[in-house]
């Protein structure tokens, strides 16, 4: 199923070392998370709600400040340098960009203006800008149709595309994608992941993607981490994870007999083995 190439041994690219995150001075959310994204790879960050996936991404892109969160321990490196003290803008300039969970489009700007702001850190010529815009529009034709609408009035899915498109405008090397499939129609989900793969293969963009849709995520990712209550409880390449019994049951919804119907869900739960 996976047509991803086996990961060649690469240098350390993005690495998160044992970080701890506290919100509001009291709420400890990440309790020592370490992970790595080798160059040119797609790494999936899986885990239940509230496991701390978004928090991890925000810690990397340094967006915690606005939520009164703090990285209190550990370090984060990108391409050989520490980045935990860099401003988000500086990170974007270095090629690390996050697509936030919940879209966060600029409601009062039109779709096109939203995309254009994405290129803020890249002062290219008018032509280059137009080219980039075209590229995004070929990825997301729907956006082209709605280009003059105010983003606040577009549908959820359109906003999601807008947010991803906006990030692409920054010509990133490393995208932190938070729940890209949320609220998207199945067709679009496939499309988006195809785009992810495309970018990865053709342009060498690396991805760290937090995703609930494990099925799809593991289909496209090379490697995965599973996060539970602020700790990494399991890691491995996509193939291994996909064949793990627990992952199958809890994240893929497959039982030993294949996919079970949502109607037949039992009212008891088996304890997860890794807990």
């Amino acid at each position: 199923m996976s047509n991803a190439q086996p990961a060649p041994a690469t240098e350390r690219y993005l690495s998160v070392n044992n970080i701890e995150v506290i919100y509001d001075h009291v709420i400890l959310v990440l309790k020592g998370v370490s992970l790595e994204v080798p160059k040119g790879r797609i790494v999936a960050l899986l885990g239940a709600n509230g496991a701390g996936k978004s928090t991890t991404l925000k810690a990397i892109s340094n967006l915690l400040g606005a939520e009164r969160g703090d990285v209190t321990k550990g370090s984060i490196e990108f391409a050989g340098t520490r980045i935990d003290r860099l401003t988000p803008a500086e990170l974007v300039r270095r090629g690390v960009i996050q697509v936030m969970e919940g879209r966060h489009c600029f409601g009062h700007l039109t779709i096109e203006e939203n995309l254009l702001t994405g290129a803020f850190t890249r002062n290219g010529s008018r032509k280059q800008l137009a080219d980039k815009l075209d590229k995004v529009y070929t990825y997301f034709p729907r956006l082209k149709q709605r280009r003059t609408s105010q983003a606040g009035y577009t549908s959820g899915g359109e906003q999601q595309m807008c947010a991803i498109g906006r990030a692409l405008m920054a010509e990133p090397e490393m995208i932190l994608l938070d729940e890209p499939s949320m609220g998207l129609a199945p067709q679009i989900v496939e499309e988006i992941f195809e785009i992810v793969r495309d970018l990865n293969q053709k342009e060498g963009v690396s991805f760290l993607l937090a995703e609930q849709n494990t099925m799809v995520a593991l289909r496209y990712a090379h490697f995965g981490y599973i996060l539970e209550s602020g700790r990494v409880v399991m890691e491995g390449d996509a193939e291994t994870l996909r064949n793990n019994e627990d992952v199958k049951e809890f994240y893929l919804g497959l039982s030993s007999t294949g996919r079970k119907s949502f109607r037949d869900v039992k009212h008891y739960r088996r304890r997860k083995r890794w807990l």
């Binding site: 509001d24 009291v26 400890l28």
Partner: protein, 358 residues
Amino acid sequence: MLYREAGQFKASFAEDMQIFPIRQDRIAIGLLLAFAFFGVPLFASEYWFSAILIPFLIFALAALGLNILTGYCGQLSLGTAAFMAVGAYAAYNFQLRVEGIPILVSFVLAGFTAAAVGVLFGLPSLRIKGFYLAVATLAAQFFIVWVLTKFPWLSNNSSSGVISAQKIQILGFSFDTPVSKYLLVLGIVVVMALAAKNLARSGTGRAWMAVRDMDVAAQVIGIPLMHTKLTAFAVSSFYCGVAGALYAFCYLGSVEPDGFNLDLSFRILFMVIIGGVGTVLGSFLGAAFILLLPIFLDNTLLPTAHALGLPFSNATVSHIQFMVFGALIMFFLIVEPHGLARLWQITKEKLRLWPFPH
């Protein structure tokens, strides 16, 4: 160690829904009230009563009023002082024009008058939101003060628009010393604060907060926006009105419309924000802070400057005071945008966890 709720089991919802569910809190509040009623009169000086305690309580009441509107219902208002003015002038007029009306009744009626005016100026809130509404409430601020200056009848034809509050007598006892006024104000404020606390944790309070947090959703789950917003305006103005009446009768003794100016509105807004939006406790903490800070600076800056031999003139000290005041406000917002009440809450949470950090 002392502040733990472990071991306090709630056997019924009624217990869980008490006004202060944690036993230590209940004890603390009880002690505080006892102290305020019986302890303070024993050793506070006249200065404390007239210049600190009475205004503190009155401002806390006004802040509470504003907090109901802004903190609980999310409608930013800059017209608080005007509603206080309505209360003050209404109480004065009830006393003046209704023969033998008990003063407390006057206060209540003053509150209702302010509430009525509040509802009137609350009507635009059905369409206008956020800062637009805030500026719209400025219309109330300026218009009401203007009306009070322009209709001499309201100030009993005093050529200057100034009114002098009548004597306060309840059941033959006259409240003319600072201590007695303090006790009167304290009593009223305690009752109203409890009522506010009750409101806040009842259906009314929840409806307010729902409208504040997301009005479309509130409407969708069946909260009528108009009714909810207008009750918030009414209750808020009622509180401000009573505060205004107390301001005139128990604090300054005589007031002029211009005294209820925008500055006063802002001071009260400061109290709410610094104290904590959407908390009853915050109104009190905020009032104390905003009232005491300048006094504290007054008393410390000049002596400090002199002690350090700095050649500061009085003017410079006053300027520095302004700066420090402004800087502290910014500082507090940065440290804790949710105000002193939240700081207090965090402290309590930490206390509960102590000695563990999380």
